[in-house]
Symmetry: D2
Subunit: 385 residues, 4 copies
């Protein structure tokens, strides 16, 4: 058995539910591995833990059950309805292992962090797990403003928490507790999470690896292959206009411009670094409830070629965000577990392949990220990172 646990922050969200259903379906031979990067030979070479025996738990602030969420998602076409029915039992069991999440303002952050840390340790011990990977798939938070002194160093952070303060954004509190519990961490969202100085240091101090931020699943994925194409052919992109329409999961949260700000930032900076210059053109994210889980993105690229001739390319991506995200969650859990097994600590730069805003790397071109990931997996396969 793999001895690995997954602990979701946002355990009944669309991504978390789809991942849980997928894990159970694959384990019951009801589904194949389509979409799972870690099943490609180049990545499997790393000697990754099997999915059989993986135990799922998590925190959630919303009522309801995994079973109910699975029915809603399958009705929305995210996965076949049969899976929600057949796996109802397993989903109910998993639902038992979901604990109430941390809600800002309820008690001190110190108490909340201690509770989360204790629940992570209890989960590991209760199921005799070698390691528990914490995966943040909770609602997107606004970006953190500037350099908050209390987040500058571990000492400053501990002092602020001891004094009953609330220096940590929600996502960062979970990261803090995870690192103290010795848990590898996946920052799947664009929220701050571990990317504040104090927590960067804590991860290294506790010898815990983490990867992030903000999974690259749809329109941004396409940008990081098309962008390099124009660059390789010396074609000058003049404007790149995008509109993202989504109704399900995170869509409602992103309807609030403040939250959308973090998503828009991660989406935009990749392109500029690939092309080597800023480009004209809006980047819209719109909440269209009618479209449900079916995210539709339209991009218009206007570029200049030889002798100044102007040409265009447009594309429409119509994908189910949760279905694109879920297999990447399983991939990242297996990869970060293997990294932890091999003694890695801090951000694993080579996992940038999965992210819009890759921690510890400026590389955004998908093919370059793929080369780095494949090389890491080869080294991991030989056991010498």
């Amino acid at each position: 058995m793999s001895g690995v646990g997954i602990w979701f922050v946002g355990a009944r969200g669309s991504v978390a539910t789809t991942t849980t259903v997928g894990l159970l379906a694959i384990r019951s031979r009801l589904a194949g591995h389509t979409g799972m990067v870690s099943e490609l030979p180049e990545v499997a070479a790393a000697g990754l833990p099997a999915l059989d025996g993986v135990v799922v738990g998590g925190h959630e602030v919303v009522e309801g059950t995994l079973g109910k969420r699975a029915e809603e998602l399958s009705a929305g076409g995210v996965f076949p309805p049969a899976l929600a029915t057949v796996l109802a039992g397993d989903l109910a069991a998993a639902d038992e292992r979901i604990r109430p999440g941390v809600v800002a303002g309820q008690g001190t952050q110190r108490a909340a962090a201690e509770r989360v840390e204790a629940e992570l340790r209890a989960f590991r011990d209760e199921h005799g797990l070698d390691r528990v990977v914490v995966v943040d798939v909770s609602s997107t938070e606004p970006p953190v403003a500037g350099d908050e002194p209390a987040l500058a160093t571990i000492e400053a952070l501990e002092a602020a928490l001891d004094a009953g303060g609330s220096p940590l954004p929600g996502s960062s509190l979970y990261a803090y507790a995870a690192f103290r519990a010795g848990c590898p961490y996946v920052a799947f969202t664009p929220s701050p999470g571990p990317r504040v100085p104090a927590l960067l240091a804590l991860a290294l101090e506790r010898g815990v690896p983490w990867a992030g931020s903000d999974a690259k699943t749809g329109e941004t994925l396409v940008k990081t292959v098309l962008g390099p194409m124009f660059a390789m052919r010396a074609l000058k992109v003049r404007s790149w206009s995008s509109v993202n329409l989504l109704g399900g999961g995170d869509g409602q949260t992103l309807a609030d411009p403040e939250n959308a700000a973090s998503k828009i930032a991660t989406k935009a900076n990749g392109l500029e670094s690939i092309l080597g210059h800023a480009v004209d053109g809006p980047l819209h994210i719109d909440y269209v409830p009618d479209l449900g889980d079916w995210k539709t993105a339209w991009d218009l690229v206007s570029f200049e070629g030889f002798l100044g001739t102007r040409m265009t390319m447009q594309f429409t991506w119509s994908g189910c965000d949760s279905s694109l995200a879920a297999p990447l969650v399983l991939d990242l859990v297996r990869l970060i577990a293997r990294a932890h097994e091999l003694g890695a600590a801090g951000p694993v730069e080579e996992f940038g392949f999965f992210f819009k805003d890759p921690a510890g790397s400026e590389v955004h071109a998908l093919s370059s990220q793929w080369a780095a990931l494949s090389a890491w997996c080869e080294r991991a396969g030989r056991g010498d990172l």
Copy 2:
């Protein structure tokens, strides 16, 4: 001065004319290098010949002048009208160096080949050039049927020609003459050209490098970055449907299904080798005179993700074929000239980056081709291929 000559087969065609105008415009500082891959640092590192001093000549079977063709193309938006007017003088001079092409059935192929070889040598001597690169940008021919005995070996070919036979397809006759005249060769079209056994051998025997076939400029370029994206993310492409609409240049030739066959073959096989399996879906090439030089291609990709969920991506590429092709011609001339200078012979596999049907290589993913090209240029820069 670079001491390099370009000899076009199809010298008044849309690609040839646009390339000639571009060369003259860049030399007169009337245009920049946008679109020229050989001006990117990774490729320029090869130590390529400068464009200044490059002399242009060629064969053509159609009346008219480069000046007239340039006016037509600029009216069609391929490049600014001002360039056609300002460069009228240089274009007239270049037009003087165009000789009547070889028309099937006019005299024996042996006589025609000798004439072409003599004209290539005369062109080199008259302008004191170090080397003349022959670039085939003539109308697309039907594919060659199976293994023609007279094309199996150099001896069989010479015997057939001496006997007054006509074993060579049009494009292959030019390649034969080029190799005998010691000229490096660029097979820009999907026509057979050098890819018959006898000529493959002749190129090696005469120590002449060549590159081909069928330049990758628009829709196929996009396929060789999007295809790898789906493969890297373990997303299963189920069908890939394409329709290509074009009115200018080669469009009329491709209206004849026989000719289109060679183009459709080169377009299709790349995708299959990238994805590792065949895909459903038609590939249309339609002649739509009304669209002129503005090729519009629409592709619909239907793919399967995690737990069998079906999603789609569609794109419309609206580009000016001749404007996309011309800078690649200049790139290939400089690269093959450098290869010749360094003693290379036969197909230069690393130039697959420019082609739909790369000679000597099975690699179609653009990023892998880019890596091979960059590595070659680095070696060439150190002078040790």
Copy 3:
């Protein structure tokens, strides 16, 4: 009760099955009237028969059951799976009323026609129906070649049939039997059906109304609103290129160019009559099994405006053909039943609104067809056609 029966030719096809499921679902208050034109006030004004009490039967040449077909279609997303399950009983009952269709070459056409006529009369009597509407939703046939003498007059037809000949295309044999049985007829397909001189005369002689041909459901529907827009604004359409990709239902039949010929003809002629001139551009119909019932059509319109400026519009229609067709079948059954009730005979020109190739009318612009339909319904509401 409405006293109306529907007799499908092709009773287990995608359109027939979807229509039958829809009828049963509406009758059981499991579905609303979305998609049904006859529920719009302007059309309901005609005083149409209710759907309650409508009895369904038909001919089919393929084994299997309505229940099985309903499951397949719902799995393909044509309608919610729940409907196939809940209505299983009603579907089994309807399946009992399906008779073996006429297969070319099995016995004489005279015998087959008599059998079909007898089965139609038996169906009407057995269920005490006022009238039975025969709806042809069978696989598309090739167009009829020129003026076949045996189809020129009723006499010539009867003589040929008596002599054991086979003058009638498959779809026309059903129309012949329907008219002799006094059944109003809907030619939902592009097949010949009633549109041979002998049958045009027979319908008038027997006082039977009919409507056709080839239902206008997706891409052609859009053409007949966009075409008039360009015409009304004096914008000159230069080329209109279309590619239709479909996998389900009729897709397989249309993969055979001979059958597709009739569909391509009906699709093309509408546009020419709307614009007043022919237009450049291909019209492809491709069978892409992977897309299932989800027909995707892409059109590129290139037009000329003021002072010769060239502009474009492109659209992608992604619709479920059977789901678009089924409500129109119910509309046409109610409308032709009402026409029969009011004594109409021959083609009802005002039902052109539903067809790509409207019998008895040259009007293709949807808005003009809508005006004619609304006026007919007003007159029918007053009982004086």
Copy 4:
């Protein structure tokens, strides 16, 4: 000769310049009538004044010359460069007849209005014209807030102006002066113009006809034919998402959300009235300088069909706004001149065909508007409105 003058407000703007070039080109037989609705038989039947002899003048607040603007626009592909060169002389002559426009804050509105009125009368007398049509094609202004007392009645307005006040928005001041000068008026922009109570009354009092507001040229034109299509086929539109990208002409003005507000309002309300219900989905207008005069609009329509099945249609409109607008200006000038000739006063509802926000009408479906326009032209042709 036609005895008609055109007086542009915004005489050197993209629409005004393109219209002036077009008028001169048609008069010199250098261009045809493509794009001119008034040359379609149904509209020409109204007995409209010829274009020959039409004299152009106007107000403008920006320096530069018509000749210079024509060169810029032709370089941007709005019309062939040759026209700007050949018509340079006529453009210079027209430029002489352009007067400095009214700039808010420079002197009292009473003085400005009197100046404008005097310049309109002088223009008419100087060229012996029967009538001068004032066409507002100036930059879009923000919408007028609520019911401004000084704009409620003619008396209140005159009193406010006499008292040295500035009750009128810029566009309304020109309308006020036009009506006092007895000039028919075309409100081509979404700015308030004549649509304040006092000016509605003034037009009737002075017996002057006017038409407006906000010309329907591109994406909204398509909405008013596609919207009715869904309605006629009982298909329920659930969401309609639009993004408009433009760089030239009015684009910069609309970059300011305040100005865009009036454009967004006119764009949205048409669809709701056609469908009979509000629809989900954003409406973006983005200024993308790189796209120049080439407006690109993408719309995604998500609709529900029979038995709840969800389907989509998307389209991309890529048109040159000024080239689409200019012929409509010439049409409206001829139509409103004919209306004036026949004694019409106040808003001519039947000209709604040309507008996003038709004055005096709730009809938005293009085909219904066309029917009303054709009927008006038939009556006008018989001289009895």
